[in-house]
Amino acid sequence: MNRDPANSFQDMILALHDFWSAHGCLILQPYDMRMGAGTFHTATTLRALGPEPWNAAFVQPCRRPTDGRYGENPNRLQHYYQYQVILKPSPSDIQDLYLESLRVIGIDPLKHDIRFVEDDWESPTLGAWGLGWEVWCDGMEVTQFTYFQQMGGFDCKPVAGELTYGLERLAMYIQSVDNVYDLAFNSAGVSYGDVFLENEKQMSKWNFEVADTDALFDLFAKAEAECRNALANEVPIAAYEQAVEASHIFNLLQARGVISVQERASYMARVRDLARGSCEAHMAKEAPVWAEKYPEWSA
């Protein structure tokens, strides 16, 4: 199959799929929930826990309601795609693999200035942190590169390497366009704007102006209650989904500007409790199996 990543957004994705598939990754599909980052996908969070090797790659649509610009900003979107690669344990040639993947999609590091700039990652919501870099291509952050150290408050043993490519940004580079909506989605004349411009306009309006805040507060409370219900019944994956849901509803409430600064901290703490609780329950459920299979491992 001939890929043309330099002229097609979808071919760039397919080229990454080809590349990571050839390097032993499972090619997964997006998680079917609204989430703020690919890291929320269970293939990242929950799989970062425990001793079992795990190599996967997938595209995850991300929702960042407050980043919406009604389709008027050439770079900012409230809905965009991340390409997520998770490699556990982190291989010693992970940087080389990553740079090789850039070459595959057409970025020549002797023409473009690729840099690893310190950027540690922390998600209080997930009780997670890691060290790593944002990878710059000519000054633009195109990838977040993280060695997970903790997830859900637990040490990652072993450590997973996470690569998060900002697909639109990369494509703008490769295709050399200044406006995200001008990206060629395929090689047959369909642009990114054809697919998403109207979506951005409407969703920005909904996020900022329309969404029924009473209903959102209600949804938040329901997700919180449902998470606890799932935890009580020892189905941590279901509980985790509700934590993801609560997190997104919280982001929508933020975009609507109805959460004060003081309340903000308390909402974040509530989401964190749900996410951590889910990770803890997942860990508790799986730990005995893991310990048996991997004697050198302990929680």
Partner: protein, 712 residues
């Protein structure tokens, strides 16, 4: 003698940590060598994003053999003691020597320690250095991280070069083993570079497109950036922090100049510079008039095939996107007036016990208004002061300050001007946080001073009222900085502010407890400030010990007058006379001839006397003597009669140098008094009267400053 090279390679080390890492590497290396008995002279340390390097010149091949002696038990000691001594020193009994020590025969063990190969010592030291290396943040990685005790490093450690002379020092840590091979530039050089020895290390890396000496890279960036700016007819805005950071991000730095669209220059230049510097690590340039130019300088890490055209273009796009954001914030923020923004302050907690920022602003506005009407600046425009205070925190809820918190104040000033507020109000909003640092200029515009003082006073009083003070090194609410800011404002503007009245105005009622908390805290900061400025601490204490003064500018004026007085001959001599008088009074434990005569000079000696006739008698007795005084005694009495009221009046009039002159007039009389008059006269009436006179002299001096605190 050989030179030693150590290179520790890792994935990209954060730029900000490299200087610390170089120091840490040298420190640990020296420590290990010292404890191994290896003399180390010159050590050079270098860093790039991907390696730390150390070169130690002239290491010996082996440590010197040493012979050590240990003193043991005396002859005839129990066998167990002697055996134990032998075991401890690894010798047998027949190897012990008996020596005479002060007439006793004592066993000595002589232990010969052969010299050790420095290569062997290095092989042990290198893993120890790596294991003990302290990073601000470190991490685990890879297969080994399944266990808890795997090696921690700033990022994965990928290689070790260790060469003593031309030979590899063989060692390893957690699966990374030493060798002679390193890597060159990530993109300009593929494959390995074999290092021969310390001498060819930097040269071979240079051939591999790596400038290993960070100082050389810094210099390349400094001069290179200035050169590309000047080629474009501009001048570089120098920024040494950026030079160091970019040198920490590159192994082969190449400064490149790019342009952004002119239109962006309509947003405040500070936001452009901050965006460029903080987000993108770019330098900015100025045109011939010193105005910000539409140019940026990025530092690439490659010599690109196209001369950097694609890199510059890419960076231009990124900066354009950033500047679009800044312009978006600038536009959006200006859609609301500052007053409308200020409504949002009701949603920001200032402190859980002190309400919201809106509550604080109300208090500040009230105080600023008072300061410009009743207190410091009687000609102040109190309406404008109130207005400025009401709006001074509004920019905290704007998008721009949300993105760049360091622009607080500054943006408020811009927005105020943009909506057409009068310029002194805009200035007050912009500058009311000042002075922030030691170097920061101190505002003098009346409105700015009023709002700045009100803000700082409110912060101090609010926290003191709920019992929060800085402790030790902890000052989470920056109260010391607020106090220092307050002091510098009143000093620079020569403001006489009664803290008593300030507290009254702030709290709406007299509040003695709060006044004393505020005064004590400010006095402490003032002492620290004056001490740092080189004012003698004993003079500060001498004035502060008087108490009862709530105007710090006045206090300071007094300290200064005292300082110049003490630098004069009159001052030194008066101090000597004072000390002599005080010593005599202390020795005699003199409480005064009247039963309740003042001890400190502060009390009214008549306060406990109810009978009006008795008052008259006491008063007369204090004035008159039962004998004819000697001339020197009379002279001192007259001098005190004259100087006392003069000094008091001068202090009243805040003319402290006049008060000091009044004291100076006592110098000659007190000297003659001590010369000519016997205090301890046989006549108890004379003795008593003369001691009273010395007490009077002491008390008169005390009204100006507590001379007992003055050294010398």
């Amino acid at each position: 003698m050989s030179d030693f090279l150590l290179e520790l390679r890792s994935e990209e080390i954060p730029a900000r940590m490299q200087a610390g890492a170089r120091a840490e590497l040298e420190k640990l290396f020296r420590r290990e060598m010292t404890s191994a008995g290896v003399d180390v002279a010159g050590v050079t340390v270098w860093s790039t994003p991907r390696r730390l390097a150390l070169i130690a010149r002239g290491l010996p091949d082996a440590t010197q053999a040493v012979s050590e002696e240990a003193k043991g038990p005396p002859q005839g000691a129990p066998d167990a003691a002697i055996d134990g001594f032998c075991r401890k020193n690894g010798v047998t009994k027949d190897q012990l020597e008996l020596r005479d020590v002060k007439g006793r025969q004592i066993y000595f063990a002589v232990i010969e320690k052969p010299g050790q190969s420095v290569r062997d010592l290095l092989a042990k030291a290198i893993p120890a250095i790596i294991r003990e290396f302290s990073w601000p943040k470190s991490m685990r990685w890879g297969d080994a991280s399944i266990g808890t005790d795997s090696l921690r490093w700033v990022r994965p450690l990928s290689g070790i070069v260790a060469l003593l002379g031309d030979d590899i020092v063989e060692c390893g840590v957690h699966g990374v083993t030493s060798g002679a091979a390193t890597k060159g530039h990530r993109f300009h050089h593929s494959g390995e570079i074999t290092i021969g020895n310390a001498a060819d290390y930097a040269m071979k890396l240079r051939a591999g497109h790596v400038i290993v000496d960070h100082a050389e890279r810094q210099d390349m960036i400094r001069t290179g950036a200035a050169a590309v700016a000047s080629e474009a007819g501009l001048s570089l805005v120098e920024d040494e922090d950026l030079v160091i950071e970019n040198a920490g991000l590159t192994e082969w730095p190449i400064p490149l100049l790019g342009r952004f669209e002119d239109d962006f220059l309509e947003v405040p230049p500070e936001t452009i510079q901050l965006t460029a510097r903080v987000n993108q690590k770019y330098f900015v340039c100025e045109d011939a008039e010193g105005k910000l130019a539409n140019a940026f300088i990025c530092t690439a890490n490659i010599a690109a095939e196209d001369g950097g055209a694609a890199i510059v273009d890419g960076n231009r796009k990124v900066l354009a996107a950033r500047l679009s954001d800044a312009r978006f914030f600038w536009d959006v923020d200006r859609k609301k007036t500052l007053e409308q923004h200020a409504e949002g302050l009701a949603r920001i907690t200032f402190h859980e016990k002190l309400g919201t920022v809106a509550d604080k602003v109300k208090r500040v506005a009230k105080l600023a208004e008072w300061l410009t009407s009743d207190a410091a600046a009687p000609n102040g425009d109190h309406k404008a002061a109130r207005r400025a205070a009401e709006l001074c925190k509004a920019d905290l809820v704007t998008e721009m300050v949300g993105e760049f918190p360091e622009l607080q104040g500054l943006m408020g000033g811009y927005y105020a001007r943009a909506e057409g507020l009068q310029s002194d109000v805009a200035d007050a909003i912009r500058d009311h946080y000042k002075p922030v640092g030691q170097e920061d200029e101190v505002p003098t515009a009346p409105l700015t001073v009023a709002v700045g003082l009100a803000d700082k006073l409110d912060t101090l009083l609010s926290f003191f009222k709920i019992g929060i003070f800085p402790t030790g090194s902890k000052d989470p609410f920056a109260l010391r900085r607020a106090a220092l800011g307050y002091l510098r404002l009143v000093q620079a503007n020569d403001l006489n502010l009664s803290l008593d009245q300030v507290v009254h105005a702030w709290d709406g009622r007299p509040n003695k407890a709060l006044v004393s908390k505020l005064t004590d805290f400010l006095a402490d900061r003032l002492k620290v400030q004056q001490r740092e400025a080189g004012v003698r601490h004993d003079l500060i204490d001498a004035v502060f010990a008087l108490g009862g003064e709530d105007d710090l500018v006045r206090l300071l004026a007094r300290v200064k007058a005292l300082q110049s007085f003490m630098d004069s001959e009159d001052g030194t001599n008066l101090l000597a006379g004072y000390k002599r008088a005080a010593n005599i009074l202390k020795k005699e434990d003199w409480q005064g001839s009247g039963s309740r005569i003042a001890r400190t000079g502060d009390e009214d000696p008549m306060e406990n006397v109810d009978d009006p006739q008795m008052r008259a008698i006491y008063a007369a007795r204090a004035k008159t003597l039962s004998y004819t005084p000697e001339p020197a005694e009379k002279a001192l009495i007259d001098a005190l009669d004259a100087a006392g009221p003069k000094a008091a009046a001068a202090i009243e009039a805040e003319d402290f140098s006049a008060a000091m002159s009044a004291l100076a007039s006592l110098r000659a009389p007190i000297d003659s008094f001590f010369e000519d008059v016997t205090v301890n006269d046989d006549d108890p009436a004379k003795r008593s009267a003369r001691l009273d006179l010395l007490a009077r002299f002491r008390d008169a001096v005390h009204r100006v400053a507590d001379f007992s605190r003055i050294e010398g």
